[in-house]
């Protein structure tokens, strides 16, 4: 029965239909907007099944302190579940613990919090991301050469984890020389600016290890505008990058942070509230885009915003499979 539900934080005293709170850190960026789209679609589906009656959305406007306050308000208004993209990997830990103690199902996805007081965490493996990206690039440049590394913003766990994940591969190949590294927001413009300056400072570049967001598109544009040959580059599933990839005929590799993590988190929360056991950490395998399947992605491009991300398809079967893994 529900009384001895195995999932963490679940006390079994909450009955469907449930109220779900989505504690978003910042709802304006397109990735977030797309993610919210998958959440809303999932909520619609669950409403039809009578499992959910309301979705409450907050937007912390990028401020981790405001997010804490909003999670507190969710606790105060006694929502049944909170799905959460954290604005800081440490800051919300205590308020989440409070929520957990109140029997609220908490599913943390994308940006994770260093705490075990959650029902489940759902994410791809950032370290693996870095590792696989490095592997591809080192392979592509033939095990030796000069590379640039483009990181996301400094002081943020995700960008740090991805970078650390690449370390082992890089150390294993002493012939791969790191010319320079940058930290910029995951955006096109700052990446393009930085790479352009680096191109002038470093006449010879063999490859670019770009660790996420729209950084790769910026790098490709920079090379293109300076009339330089494109080099092997890693990236993420940003539509602009995928289109440039095709247009410039790149040899490339990309993975993604699928937007349906949001839908999946919602699904997981309801499953947990329904008394199902859910794993404490659901590792989402990294979907890989390479020259073999890029066309499949681009074929669906028109369904996605121009400045958005083309994510892999998903359905309930996939969710069930993910939850079943141990």
């Amino acid at each position: 029965s529900q009384a001895d539900a195995a999932a963490k934080c679940i006390k079994g005293d909450r009955k469907a239909p449930y109220t779900i709170g989505w504690a978003n850190i910042y709802s304006v960026p397109t990735w977030m907007k797309q993610t919210q789209g998958t959440i809303e679609a999932e909520v619609e589906a669950l409403k039809k099944q009578g499992l959910v009656d309301k979705l409450v959305v907050t937007d912390a406007q990028g401020d981790a302190n405001v997010q804490i306050q909003q999670i507190q308000s969710m606790i105060d208004s006694n929502v049944d579940a909170i799905i959460l993209i954290a604005g800081s990997s440490t800051a919300p830990a205590r308020v989440i613990a409070d929520a957990c103690a109140k029997g609220i199902a908490i599913i943390n996805f994308d940006s994770l919090v260093d705490t075990d007081q959650v029902t489940a965490k759902v994410n791809t493996d950032s370290s693996q991301w870095g590792d696989q990206a490095a592997k591809f690039l080192i392979d592509a440049i033939g095990g030796k050469g000069k590379i640039l590394i483009l990181n996301g913003p400094a002081g943020v766990s995700v960008s740090d984890d991805r970078r650390k994940g690449a370390d082992a591969e890089l150390k294993a190949h002493p012939d791969v020389k790191i010319l320079a590294e940058t930290n910029t927001p995951y955006n096109v413009a700052p990446a393009q600016e930085a790479v352009t300056s680096l191109l002038f400072a470093n006449p010879e570049i063999d490859g670019i290890l770009s660790l996420g967001g729209a950084l790769s598109a910026g790098a490709v544009l920079a090379l293109d505008k300076q009339g330089r040959d494109q080099v092997p580059i890693t990236g993420e599933n940003a539509r602009q990058f995928l289109e440039l990839w095709k247009e410039k005929g790149l040899k490339s590799w990309a993975t993604m942070q699928p937007n349906w993590l949001g839908a999946f988190a919602t699904y997981t929360a309801v499953q947990a509230l329904e008394g199902k056991d859910v794993p404490a950490f659901v590792k989402i395998p990294l979907p890989v885009i390479d020259n073999s399947n890029i066309d499949q992605y681009l074929a669906r491009a028109k369904d996605f915003p121009a400045d958005g991300y083309i994510y892999s398809p998903y359905d309930e079967e996939l969710f069930k499979k993910l939850l079943a893994q141990k």
Binding site: S27, V28, P29, T30, K33, Q34, Q61, A154, G155, A180, E181, T182, N183, P185, N187, V188, A189, P190, Q192, E193, A194, T196, S197, L198, L199, F200, A201, N202, P203, A214, A217, G218, L221, K225, Q226, Q240, E243, K302, D303, F304, P305, A306, D307, G308
Partner: protein, 323 residues
């Protein structure tokens, strides 16, 4: 007393040589020379040209900001306006317009209108500029949630593409645009009655109003100009990046203010010139580029960036005493 007896030309030359804009320009040149010695590629013509092209975006945003600051205000909504401009341009595309000019005009009209609304709040509701423009930035965030990603069509606007990529006579179109805007702005600022009113309003709004300066319409115009130039910057940055995205304008808020102040315009209003903002903008992108090529941890890079700005400010930034 010798200053009086000098020839008028000599006095003028001296005034220019000791002026803040010239000083800022001299600093830019000095930094360029030093950096090119340290790193060969930095001083390459192509790189310097690229820096100026990047400076054009800041320079455009800072043009409106200079007007606003001289008029005694500040515009914290420029970043959001740049983003709105870059995001909404693809939404305002018409098949019937092969050049793309109509969409650009429509977008710039929109951002000018946003600026005018800022002006209305400041002049009529008497809301402090910082609050009014901050609130406007917040509104625009809401607007962006609605419009962002709304169009699945990439910005295929020929004019925008041209602005971001073409190099007529080897000079990037963005720089040409900046030059044209600069000439207009400097003329407006220093050679028209409108410019004189702005300086008067910024130095002492009460005295200006009693002298017959139409405060309300001038305020509307000033914030409208800021919306206009931020909108233009949005168009340019869209062309340079091929794609607009939410957050594309973010770097330009503090950069525009810093360029204005580094160029010698008083943040208290009433004194300054766009002639200083121009090298101020180039100085900022130069420092950013310099930091990029330095190999250091993010923390040290940030410290270096701040120290450089502070150091350059020491060279050029004394506030004139008032009151």
């Amino acid at each position: 007393m010798t200053a009086w007896t000098d020839s008028a030309g000599g006095r003028r030359a001296r005034a220019i040589l000791t002026s803040r804009p010239f000083l800022t320009l001299a600093i830019v040149v000095a930094v360029w020379i030093a950096a090119s010695i340290a790193s060969r590629g930095f001083g390459a013509y192509g790189h310097l040209r690229y820096l100026v092209e990047l400076g054009a975006v800041i320079g455009l945003v800072a043009a409106g900001q200079t007007f606003v600051v001289i008029a005694g205000g500040i515009d914290l909504s420029v970043a959001a306006i740049v983003t709105v401009s870059a995001i909404s341009l693809p939404l305002l595309s018409w098949q019937a317009d092969p050049t793309g000019l109509a969409s650009v005009l429509a977008v710039v009209a929109l951002t000018t209108a946003i600026g005018v609304v800022n002006g209305l709040g400041v002049a009529l509701l008497r809301v402090h500029p910082m609050i009014m423009t901050l609130a406007m930035a917040t509104f625009l965030q809401g607007l962006l949630i609605i419009i962002a990603g709304g169009s699945a069509v990439t910005a295929e606007n020929p004019l925008v593409h041209w602005l971001g990529n073409a190099r007529p006579a080897g000079i990037p179109a963005g720089i040409l645009l900046w030059i044209a805007v600069s000439v207009l702005v400097l003329t407006l600022m220093h050679a028209t009655p409108f410019g004189a009113r702005i300086f008067a309003m910024g130095a002492n709004p009460l005295a200006a109003s009693l002298s017959g300066v139409p405060i309300i319409s001038t305020t509307l115009a000033v914030y409208g100009i800021s919306g206009f130039t931020a909108g233009l910057a949005g168009v340019l940055v869209l062309g340079m990046n091929g794609q607009g995205y939410v957050g594309i304008g973010d770097p330009y808020l503090l950069a525009s203010i810093a360029a204005v102040v580094l160029g010698g315009t008083s943040i208290l209003g009433g004194l300054g010139t766009y002639a200083g903002t121009i090298p101020g903008a180039i100085l900022l992108v130069t420092i950013t580029a310099l930091i990029t090529v330095v190999n250091a941890s993010p923390g040290w890079r940030s410290i270096l960036f701040g120290s450089l700005i502070l150091g350059l400010l020491l060279l050029s930034g004394r506030e004139q005493a008032r009151r």
